[in-house]
Symmetry: C2
Subunit: 795 residues, 2 copies
């Protein structure tokens, strides 16, 4: 672990200007925390200049600006393409101040001008009602990392670096954030970075010692342990420590330059060719500076700079406490704003000259507004991968295995802009058909001869697998936020591991799409949920949770889509659609096991385009008002509903059944609440105004009520779905336990169609017997009866 | 990193018996994967002896049994109190086989006897419909760790060790699991373990090299990096590596003994007193053995033992492939069952003698059925902490600060069995009033003088803070699963980080409580959700997500409870109730900021006991049928609803309003669906059968519809709640954006009460003007108008 001995990298003049630039940043940070008027302190500070509520974070601001200022020097010196991700997200003032000083803020928000008036607005809007947040939000130009929830900065950074060979992604990791699980494992992402075809990630662990109210773990372990930890993670750690700005500027100038040169040397060596790619020990920096660096040393006898007191507002009551007002004024004036800004309130040109220009500015780098760089995928025609379905419900095929071939060719046609992510489950989810087109799986770590066997591993591999849903989702988000495309599959129950990441990305998308016209559209985050609740024959209860959809329906209708394709051709159509889409989180629910296939490609396209429709082959209402509507959503509930209809049609010849299948779940919502929603008229024409509706649903049944509770016929909609009943069960047994099976659905129809209640009494008995037999057989033989396993739609 | 040089710790006879015990374990593991008949292979293996579906995991079984067998020796030799947590949860056969051989399985499940017949049933039920799962589920005696979702074994282990000074918790961490974020950060839990008052945790990283379909990261980094990583995490790593059983038995006997002695030495030194407690470098083991150790070396020319092929079923098709049948039979017979079990099918006594007896058996240790050890909390009278509320709605107090004093005394009275957990947010959530009774916060790491300042840090501290919701929840679960008590607070939006942990614990509780009578009741997991959506003045959109309640309502009504106490006395009453309860996940939603107080302690007890009720002081229906019901749940929606009622009562003198407040959310559900549910009659008598109901709700409004959609008056229930609208806003502005504010609620009433639609038209205009003024003022001044901030209920 090297600690540079203060080589004089900067000339005295460079040092003076660098320090001036940093003072300007710090002044702006403090100004936005406190001031609503008098932005350059051209009058003595008075209570009326101070905001009524003081809300914001000072703690990591000076350290982050310090990093940024030194990166600027190297961008100019080496003509770097470099972005910066702020892990301590509540240190947004650092990003904002640099963004303002570089001029980008004024370009994006023209009312925030580079003068006294603009500065006053810039200060006032910060953490102010109707203004902007105190962490890096979508409103922050130059940022692709939402700082509201901690833990994902490094995985986002890696996502940005993949397939961007000329990009350097600097990630400032907060030492509080570093305690989170997602961050702690994301250091291992260096085993997935190809030094030839990917860019570099330069993490800077900002060890400022304190979280909100506690010291951080990493700040209090020994220097030796700290070094070992990062060596163990596979990095080359470099420590910089101190608080004297003059000394620290020289150290930081030397160290950051060394890291950039090391990165370039690693890349040059790998890219020279000839040698197999080995995992480099990339440099990383541990920067130990005081929390709230350059704040007053003390307040009321308590330590301020370098303590948790400097985490948020260092001085809490300047308006009511004159001594604190004086302390605040002295602190603000310590940055000497009069030496930094001209008469007009504009940063002096000689200082401004330290920052790069145009798209070389960190805050103006197009990678941080990735939609600007996004190119649509080159797509093969998904129809070419269609299953030849001659008659509905005759053959069983894995829908996910079918789209794997399509995804394989999407991969082949987009070898630098499309990646597939899975937590060690790509093969388990039957998507291993992608490997022939993906150079196998990404792996920049030691290999063994047997690795060739079954989805090989390679630094060129483009399917990314790590047993961390957090890391994968973080990579995926970073990848699309910088203008590329992707696809992630997960076991259904464990997608909940990234519930909060979904929430945060959905919120980012909503703000970006609906409020910030300057953010260009990015590719959707496409989540395939497989290994579904209904097929957990040995995994049992822990693997049964279809509740992710409930969360998705809480988020803005403008950015959420849920699809439940009932068969492979529908899944193909949906997959094509989502890969072309932008600015959504698309959630697709499709099981990996072989299931019956129903629709031809043409029928599937039509069905998916409408999103909901009557299946004529299964219906017996012949276009008339039916006696009952049997509706379904999801592959497995669809096949059970069909089997129920087959029983009913055999035994109750006169019964007029309408069979409705739902692919696009939001069609159920009213059109005034969701852009995909059916009008009440359309809904009524499908579901009738007063006939019983038996709805067999993939997930928790209450979700259907949540989506349809304002519909005319709502009182007659009877929903079956997963009811938290299960353990080790055969597929049919699990369906029976939760009453989504053919027998229960048929009985539901009988119970709700008045004409059947007497005439089908015998049928009900038979259905009950069938159920009992089915469970007994399963418990005896460990499998479902052959006629269940091989059931086909009767032609 | 030491690698013992095979000292001959075991005598030849001990070695023979140890190996025999291990062979018995391995035989049982393989048997439960494959056999439905012929359990001891007393006839040649035939297809009909094999299960119809082969579902289970072999990969980590032999390694885990290997560990267990060697722990048994030390338990006996040193009379240890020791439990074992299986991180690679799908290796349940290892736990199950040891549990069976120790006799505990037959004690818990008497039909599974210690003979041929019992063995046949034991094999057949495994991963079989109606039987038990293939990972460690609640049905597994001796286990407190659900193995369905990976990542929490080590935090569960630490939770078990806290305040159990004589307990050693061995945690086998899978190298797949080790890639998850939650596991990766939980190694740092050693900074929170007090060597005097806590037990020890001995982690064994089982480096068997492969996940489902990929090598693991940690298995492929260099030995040097691996050592550095664990040194960096603060452990003393010991490596054991190999595949020759004879050599490995000697190595493992020596190494495990060394670790136990090191643990005892560390504890003895710390407990001798005199010295300040320093963080020990506890031992941990890295055990590198082949995946699927002792399986056939090859199958069809592919590597089997030591490859991902040995992860699940090593041989997939014995029934249809005679060569594979022969391979299977040869493999099973390689363990020589005829030398291990007597005529009766019982393990030979000389082998059985290696395992401990009674509660010394790992599988019979009462810590693994912690309810057996649980003692109720000694509780102060919560009424003693009551706020003196003379008139409703006159003073503002922080409800969480109020219960902090109560929790402080709960802590004082239960200094070895109650802990409080918070992700660096205890003080932020205004619970720092606990510190005087908690010896501050747990911290077994370096300290600085200034740490005394504001909630001090100490190895004796009992409030546990780390910036990892995963680790805290894992500790909490481990702590209650071993019979103790706790309380966790979190920011509302970030409780989603542990959605999946909640799901898994809820599932564990449901099975334990409803199906497994032998598992004794454990304390509830109590989650206080604070820093609510409605008070995110500077955190903004990312901190606004009240959707955790949606997930909670998906889980079994038998184990979930949700409380929204409207004021401090109600929160006191609820807190007392939940701390006394068992076998629930209790979710309490209460904001930290000062809010108006309404109920006297007596009123609060009555209100919370009923869970829902009419507030007479706010109502104007005087016991008659009202014109409108204004209902609310949650502290902030309650105060806005009250303010709306105050406006309406001032301006619409004749209007008969009934004001209903809901504390216990599940009262809204039908009684047939939830044990707390109101009967339809009770519901109708509160909410009427046909009058408009305006319901002001804390969370997403659709949740109320989900809970009430079968109620008589459902069509007239109009719900307001969070609608995903917000950014940086004053409290009132945010309420207005989501229409939960006083003005919107008053307008909702006007719009729905026919008699008001004309008479109150002028009032509606005034309300609209008020809203516009409120937002304008907020955007100008950064705060709400004084009359809003200081609003009181008019007496």
């Amino acid at each position: 672990m090297t600690t540079p001995q203060t080589p004089a990298v900067l000339t005295p003049e460079e040092l003076r200007l660098t320090h001036a630039y940093w003072r300007a940043c710090n002044y702006l940070c403090a100004g936005m925390l406190y001031l609503r008027e008098n932005p350059l302190l051209r009058e003595p500070l008075k209570p009326e200049h101070i905001k009524n509520r003081l809300l914001g974070h000072w703690g990591s601001d000076p350290g982050q600006s310090f990093i940024w200022v030194h990166l600027n020097r190297l961008i100019k010196k080496y003509n770097l393409d470099l972005i910066y991700l702020s892990g301590p997200g509540h240190g947004a003032p650092a990003t904002l101040s640099n963004c303002y000083l570089e001029g980008v803020y004024s370009e994006v928000y023209p009312s925030i001008t580079q003068d006294v008036e603009g500065l006053q607005k810039f200060f006032k809007q910060f953490s102010f009602p109707g203004g902007i947040g105190s962490h890096c939000t979508p409103e922050t130009p130059g940022s692709i990392h939402e700082g509201g929830e901690l833990g994902y900065s490094l995985s986002h950074g890696f996502g940005a670096a993949f397939d961007n060979p000329d990009l350097i992604v600097t990630v400032c990791v907060g030492d509080g954030e570093a305690e989170t699980g997602p961050l702690a494992t994301s250091w291992h992402a260096n085993k997935f970075l190809n030094p030839i075809t990917d860019g570099a990630v330069l993490p800077i662990l900002h060890l400022n010692g304190y979280k909100i109210a506690n010291p951080t773990i990493l700040a209090r372990i020994s220097a030796e342990e700290l070094e070992q930890l990062f060596l163990g993670y596979g990095w080359t750690p470099h420590v910089i420590e101190g608080d004297d700005p003059e000394v620290m500027h020289q150290k930081m100038a030397a160290l950051t330059e060394q890291c950039i040169l090391d990165i370039q040397a690693i890349q040059a060596k790998a890219r020279a060719g000839g040698e197999p790619v080995e995992r480099p020990r990339w440099p990383m920096i541990i920067m130990r500076t005081p929390k709230g660096w350059t704040a007053p040393k003390e307040i009321d006898g308590h330590k301020l700079e370098g303590s948790w007191r400097a985490h948020q507002m260092p001085i809490l009551d300047p308006v009511t406490n004159p001594a604190h007002m004086a302390l605040l004024e002295g602190w603000l004036r310590s940055y000497k704003p009069e030496e930094l800004f001209d008469e007009n309130g504009t940063l002096l040109a000689e200082i401004r000259a330290l920052a790069p220009e145009g798209t070389s500015r960190i805050s103006g780098n197009p990678h941080a507004n990735g939609g600007l760089l996004r190119k649509p995928l080159s797509m093969p025609d998904f129809r070419d991968y269609a299953l030849d379905v001659k008659k509905p419900g005759q053959v069983e095929v894995s829908s996910t295995a079918t789209i794997a071939k399509f995804l394989c060719d999407v991969m082949r046609q987009n070898m630098t802009s499309f990646r597939v992510f899975g937590p060690d489950e790509t093969a388990s989810n039957k998507l291993d058909g992608i490997y022939p087109g993906s150079h196998g799986k990404t792996w920049v770590n030691a290999t063994l001869p047997e690795d060739a066997d079954g989805g090989y591993l390679s630094p060129e591999g483009r399917v990314m697998e790590m047993l961390s849903e957090h890391t994968l989702e973080g990579w995926f988000e970073g990848y699309v936020l910088t203008g590329r495309h992707g696809f992630l599959s997960s076991y259904e129950a464990f997608i909940h591991i990234i519930d909060s990441m979904f929430n945060q990305h959905a919120k980012w998308l909503e703000k970006s799409k609906l409020e910030l016209r300057w953010r260009a559209s990015i590719s959707s985050v496409n989540l395939l949920i497989s290994s579904l609740v209904w097929r957990q024959d040995h995994n049992g209860f822990t693997h049964q949770d279809p509740g992710f959809l409930d969360l998705v329906t809480n988020k803005s209708p403008e950015i959420t889509r849920i699809y439940l394709p009932p068969d492979a051709n529908c899944l193909l159509s949906v997959t094509d659609h989502i890969l072309r889409s932008t600015d959504y989180v698309n959630v697709v629910v499709a099981d990996k096991a072989p299931h019956l296939q129903y629709l031809t490609m043409d029928q599937a396209i039509k069905h998916c385009t409408k999103g909901i429709g009557i299946w004529d082959f299964a219906s017996s209402d012949a276009g008339h008002e039916p006696d009952v509507v049997v509706a379904c959503a999801g592959d497995i509930p669809t096949s059970e509903a069909l089997a129920a209809v087959a029983i009913l049609r055999e035994h109750c010849k006169d019964l007029k059944i309408r069979f409705v299948n739902v692919v696009d779940l939001f069609r159920l919502m009213p059109e005034r609440q969701h852009p995909h929603g059916l009008s009440d008229h359309e809904f009524d024409s499908l579901f009738t105004k007063d006939k019983p509706v038996i709805f067999n649903f993939h997930a928790y049944p209450t979700l259907i009520h949540k989506l349809t509770y304002r519909r005319t016929n709502h009182d007659n909609i009877h929903v079956r779905g997963y009811n938290e009943k299960g353990n080790i069960n055969t597929p049919l047994e699990l369906a029976i336990l939760n009453k989504v099976d053919r027998y229960h659905i048929a009985m539901d129809v009988i119970d709700r169609v008045p004409s059947l209640q007497v005439s089908a009494a015998h049928l009900k008995e038979w259905l009950t017997d069938q159920m009992i037999d089915a469970v007994n057989y399963a418990h005896q033989e460990g499998i479902d009866r052959k006629e269940i396993r091989e059931w086909k739609w009767p032609l």
